[in-house]
Each structure stands twice: as structure tokens, then as C-alpha cells.
Subunit: 208 residues, 2 copies
DNA sequence: TTGGAAATACCTCTTATGGGCGATTGACGC
DNA sequence: GCGTCAATCGCCCATAAGAGGTATTTCCAA
């Protein structure tokens, strides 16, 4: 029993790549690719009224960048899945794309067969990434080291919620003086001089 | 020409699963699995002296959790790659595992054939994840929306660096009063009442 | 057993912060 | 042309925060 076709559009400025992708995808069983755009503006103008499941998006486009186009498309069509298909493999491109709402990130050295597999993965709720990209993403989660004691971490979390000395003291059944001492020690360990910087550093280093 | 075997260890408390995995992996060409541990303590005691490439780690272990074991293993053997292989699919388990240093996250419904593919992916520098896991990770990057003006964002960033009114005013060539007004507006937009909470929310929502 | 964290508690002093007010100017949209 | 909003500047005041101390207890590891 044949499943329903997955409807795909392409945004890619290189004519040859665009047409080749179009032919490959549209010619594969289970996939339909009736729309291809050479730039973001034309894609934004048309997509939204179209019955699409997935968009393949290049990043380096004339005019609006593929990341900006992704952001806007996702704002207007939250259900649409967008897969970045690009040569860019720098951290900025990757993380900005994900923040913009991309559901996958593939490098252009991906083979046509793999591409089709990955499109189906996205259709099935996955989030395919080229190997090197996936590793970069999960490395971004790594924690360096945590110099804070459990008590200090607990108090720092409350600080980040906006509580003051007295409120924290009440929460943890301590004297406000003790809370203050802990916070001073936290500042020393994080090499900061106030709450704002402490919370910034702690979040950046995933301490809280 | 045969490539070198990938050397694998298993940490898994369920005897049947552990032995089955062991047999499947060790019986596959290109893979070697000579070590299997029923708990984290025994794994920590032995691994480190062993010539291993990859460890498959369960999360729900007797005693130390697989996440804690992962953290310690990675601290002592940064080069070792650890793949979580678990039934846990809650956000906390996923993100804590990644923060602890896992290089992949697979659910136990992964087929043996896929498992071998994924082990090789990790060996080749990738970071395989089960479909639903990958999507959760990617979604964690999504930006909701940014209610702040450019000026406000600029000032909020300086706040997070620990600058006070006067210092910020000096940086942006404004009166300290104006800076204060901006900050008050930021608090209103973020529905917070102080710096700590503002920075926490802003970072959580990726506004800065 | 001794040294070092961690956790606990207190004091004083100066400065920064946040709340509550008001006000003008210049874009931009409708 | 009118309203809205960002951006700018201002004042007063109560309180919170941070910088400087000192000190005790507990517990773990060297």
C-alpha cells in the first residue's frame, strides 16, 4: 500500500543544483517536488499557500539569507519543516539556523539517496544532521566543570529566579547573613562581582 | 582490506539485554565487545585501563546512574565516546546525558542493525540520535520571539556583563537616567522585577 | 591528625537598585 | 493628521546589594 507523497520545495540559487535536486526528488517514489525557488523573496511570496511538507533551504542566497527566510517561513507556517542544505558548516550558521527553526541540517556532500532518507526522517518527526554537524551540536551541551557546592548551586538558582537575600533565606531555612555569605563565595568562585554577571556566567557554563 | 575493529564495552544491568548485545556486537564483523558491566561502579573500576573506543551506557542502573557514570568516565577519559542506550526519553535524561558528555543518544527500540550503524557513526565522529530525540534537541534551540528593541537588547547584554547604570551610560553615550528608563522598560516587557531574573529569562529565551 | 572545604552566622558602611512619578522628540503606520 | 511607541532625560526615596571584615562547626581526605 503506497503511502502519501511527501511534498517538497527547494530554495537554492544555483540553477544546476536546483534543477538536479528537483529532478531527483520528484522522480523518486513517494516524493513530490513541484516548486523550486532561486531566492528567498520568491519563496516567501509563494510558500504558505502551497500544500508543502518540507522545504530544502540553502543558506547562501542572493538577497535575504536562507536563515532569515527560514525564520520568517517558520513564523508564518509553524508546521512546515525546513531542512538546511548548504555548504556552510561554521558554528554560527548551524546554531542560527536551528534557532531560526530548522528541523535538520545537511551538508551538500550528502548523497541523493541519503537526502531522500533524511527527508523521510524529518517527515517522520526526526531531525537529521550530517555527522560532523550532529557532533558539534551535542558538544555545545558539554559542561566544563562546576566549582560550586550543592548549597551554592541551590542558592544561585534562586538568585536567577529574582529572589533577594531574605526570600532565599526563608526558602532554605537559613539566616539572611548566611545566604549573603554563600553568595559572596559564589561570586568569588565565578570571578564576578554581582548577580547579573554571576547568572550570566552560570547559565553560559550550564551550572544552573 | 578490513578496517580495524571498533572496541566496545557495555554498561547495562539487565542480564539478558547485556548478554544479547554483547553477542550481537562481538559477532559482527568490524566490531569487538569483550567487556560488559552490570553497574556503573564496576565499569568505572575497569574502564580506563582498557583499550576501548566506545561505551554503550544504560541510564537506569543500580547504584550510580548512567549519567553520573558518564560524567566521571568522560572526566577521566575525554577521548572515550559514550552512547546512551536507554528507555528514558524525558527531556531531563536527554539533556543531562549530553551535558555529561554523551556522544549519542539511542532508545532501546533501536534495531541491532541500526545500532551497529550508529556505533560506526560515533566512531567516525558523528553523534547519532533516535529520531524523536534529535527533534527534541533541535527544538531546544528554537527562539520564541523577541519583544525587546535593539537598544534594549544592547543594554541587556551589558547588564549581563555586570555593568551598572553609570558604566552602561558611558558605553552607549547616554544619560544614566535614560539607561535606567530602558532597563525599567526591559523589566516590564520581560515581566520581571530585577536584573537577576531579567538575565535568566533573556538567556533562557535566547534574547541575548 | 591535620588541613581544607563547606556550611553556618553576624556586623558596618557605602553605593546601586528599583518603584513611582513626569516629560519631550521623532518615526512610522493607518 | 493622529496615535503609538522607541528613545531620550529628569527627580525622589526606601531598600537591596556588595565590600570589608570575624567566627564556629562539621566532615572528608591526605
Amino acid at each position: 500500500m503506497p503511502t502519501q507523497n511527501i511534498h517538497i520545495a527547494i530554495v537554492e540559487d544555483d540553477n544546476e543544483i536546483r534543477q538536479t535536486l528537483n529532478l531527483i526528488i520528484d522522480g523518486s517514489a513517494g516524493f513530490s517536488c513541484k516548486y523550486a525557488f532561486p531566492d528567498g523573496e520568491s519563496a516567501l511570496a509563494s510558500i504558505g499557500n502551497l500544500p508543502l511538507d518540507i522545504v530544502l533551504m540553502d543558506i547562501d542566497l542572493p538577497g535575504k539569507s536562507g536563515i532569515a527566510v527560514t525564520r520568517q517561513l517558520k513564523r508564518e507556517n509553524p508546521e512546515l519543516d525546513i531542512i538546511m542544505l548548504t555548504v556552510q558548516s561554521d558554528d554560527d550558521s548551524i546554531f542560527e539556523s536551528l534557532c531560526a527553526g530548522a528541523s535538520g541540517y545537511l551538508l551538500k556532500d550528502t548523497s541523493p539517496a541519503e537526502l531522500l532518507v533524511h527527508i523521510r526522517e524529518v517527515y517522520d518527526g526526526g531531525a537529521p544532521m550530517s555527522n560532523s554537524i550532529a557532533r558539534r551540536i551535542i558538544n555545545s551541551f558539554r559542561v566544563i566543570d562546576n566549582p560550586l557546592s550543592d548549597r551554592e548551586t541551590e542558592i544561585l538558582k534562586m538568585l536567577s529566579k529574582g529572589l533577594n537575600y531574605k526570600e532565599i533565606a526563608h526558602e532554605v531555612f537559613l539566616s539572611p547573613h548566611t545566604v549573603k555569605t554563600h553568595i559572596k563565595n559564589i561570586y568569588a568562585k565565578l570571578h564576578v562581582g554581582n548577580r547579573a554577571e554571576a547568572i550570566y556566567k552560570a547559565l553560559k557554563q550550564k551550572l544552573i
